[in-house]
């Protein structure tokens, strides 16, 4: 038998299936490392990683706070700046034609190559790191929001014109609500990129001390051959990325669930 009915998945399975795969992979990892007596400075066992996570929790969670602070600030700046730039692009084709190539230039230049320059030019290290993360995260916001603001139903636009709507009425009542699905698509990508940008910038800056982020802990653990701590830091970065992504998905669902196809569940 074929058809959609055959593909129906129990909601519990959506969470349970990947968790089961993860648990099996961890068990296999633990067995292989124990069985073959792999030294922890090459591949630590999951138990050793968890041990390091508990042992070094204060150090690691402080660093996580620093990295997340940079990533979230960069994400907030990217949202505000990105939306403003998109509004500017939609207001004038000339502005878009003049500036969009530079936005693309910013996107295609590897952050690892320009981060040292930004760190040299900006005296405040924290600000420099935020700037690096913004450079990485802003493009999806600009490009998706611009696309959304432009993708207006032509019939609806004609209706507004027949009603002699002002530019601001068209913007606030038509373009902005209509662009939300595109904006949230950009936000999902930008949330992960802001974290990647923050970590890459921290690697380049290599700043230690009180304000050291997770990237610095990874560098330091690598030098000290403290591989369990390195894995623990890596795990925290990964989980933060997943949490950030889940947050954006939740916000998107909250805003679009009643009306946009992308967020409407099949049962609705």
């Amino acid at each position: 038998m074929s058809g959609r009915g055959g593909d129906a998945v129990h909601p519990f399975a959506r969470i349970g299936a990947p968790l089961l795969v993860g648990a099996l992979a961890l068990a296999l990892w633990q067995i292989v490392v124990s069985e073959y007596d792999v030294p922890s400075y090459i591949v630590p066992s999951p138990v050793a990683v968890m041990h390091a996570l508990v042992e070094d929790r204060i150090l690691l969670f402080n660093s996580l706070g620093v990295t997340l602070g940079i990533a979230l600030t960069a994400l907030a700046v990217s949202i505000v700046l990105g939306v403003l730039v998109a509004l500017l692009f939609v207001r004038s084709r000339w502005i878009e034609l003049s500036l969009f190539p530079y936005a693309v230039l910013l996107q295609v230049t590897p952050i690892i190559a320009i981060a040292p320059l930004i760190i040299i030019w900006v005296k405040n290290t924290w600000l420099a790191l935020v700037l690096c993360a913004v450079v990485v995260a802003i493009f999806p916001i600009i490009s998706n929001t611009t696309l959304g603001l432009r993708s207006v139903d032509p019939a609806l636009l004609n209706l507004f014109r027949i009603c002699r709507a002002s530019r601001s009425q068209i913007l606030f009542r038509l373009r902005i609500p209509g662009s939300l699905p595109y904006f949230f698509g950009g936000l999902r990508i930008a949330s992960g990129l802001s974290l990647i940008g923050a970590v890459v910038a921290e690697f380049v800056a290599g700043t230690g001390g009180q304000g050291a982020g997770l990237a610095y802990q990874i560098l330091l653990a690598g030098i000290q051959l403290n591989i369990p701590r390195l894995f623990a830091a890596l795990l925290l970065i990964t989980l933060s990325g997943v949490a950030l992504f889940a947050l954006t998905v939740w916000v998107s669902r909250l805003s679009l669930a009643r009306w946009h196809e992308s967020e409407i569940s099949p049962s609705d």
Binding site: A155, N158, L159, I162, C163, R258, W259
Partner: protein, 250 residues
Amino acid sequence: MQAVGVAKTYATGTRALARVDITVHDGDFLTLLGPSGCGKTTLLNLIAGLIEPDAGTLRWWGRELAATGAPGQRLAMVFQTPALMPWARIASNVRLPLDLAGVDPATARQSVASVMRLVGLSEVGTHFPRELSGGMQMRASIARALVNSPDLLLMDEPFGALDEFTRQRLDDELVALWAAHKLSIVFVTHSIAEAVFLSTRVAVMGARPGRLIAEIAIDEPHPRGEAFRGEPRFAAYCQRLSKLVAEAHA
């Protein structure tokens, strides 16, 4: 509304409309009938003031575009798609023209309730468009067009995407609305039967470039019920128009 010698060529070089003269009188139900690409929508957009003609003049209620800027609130339009804002509830969609015109909320609420009753949507004001069928969405679109009591209603193949049963039902309702509220309507369709059933006059258009071929008066009393569709006179009108459309297309 009066169009005298209006012509339109798009920037791409497509000559959409040769010189066309057409007048819509008060209480007219004028249908523009013709095959795809004969300039029906272009003519409707010109009447709506959405595009400007290359030649000729358009006058609404005795005034030209230069004097009025646009036909404004005395004119409303229903499009090929319902064109509802998917993020807004049906009642908010219907009251949009009033909100844009700055009508006070209490008056707007009354007007919306009255027009929703008129089209049989009173129960679904709090629904989102996606929760309604295609026919109900089109009714909401008509309600929105009627909410500020326009003098002239333009309809661009509004029922073209609906199934035949829904289409006939909405045709019946539209003609009843037109008769009850003494509206003036310019209706675009490529369905000959729909044109005969609805109109007081049918303007047949030909393609390449779009032009007016003939104007036929449908001298039949209103209301025209289901029985009219089965009458020999209905068939005769259809045959006559069909012949004209075929000639225009040849």
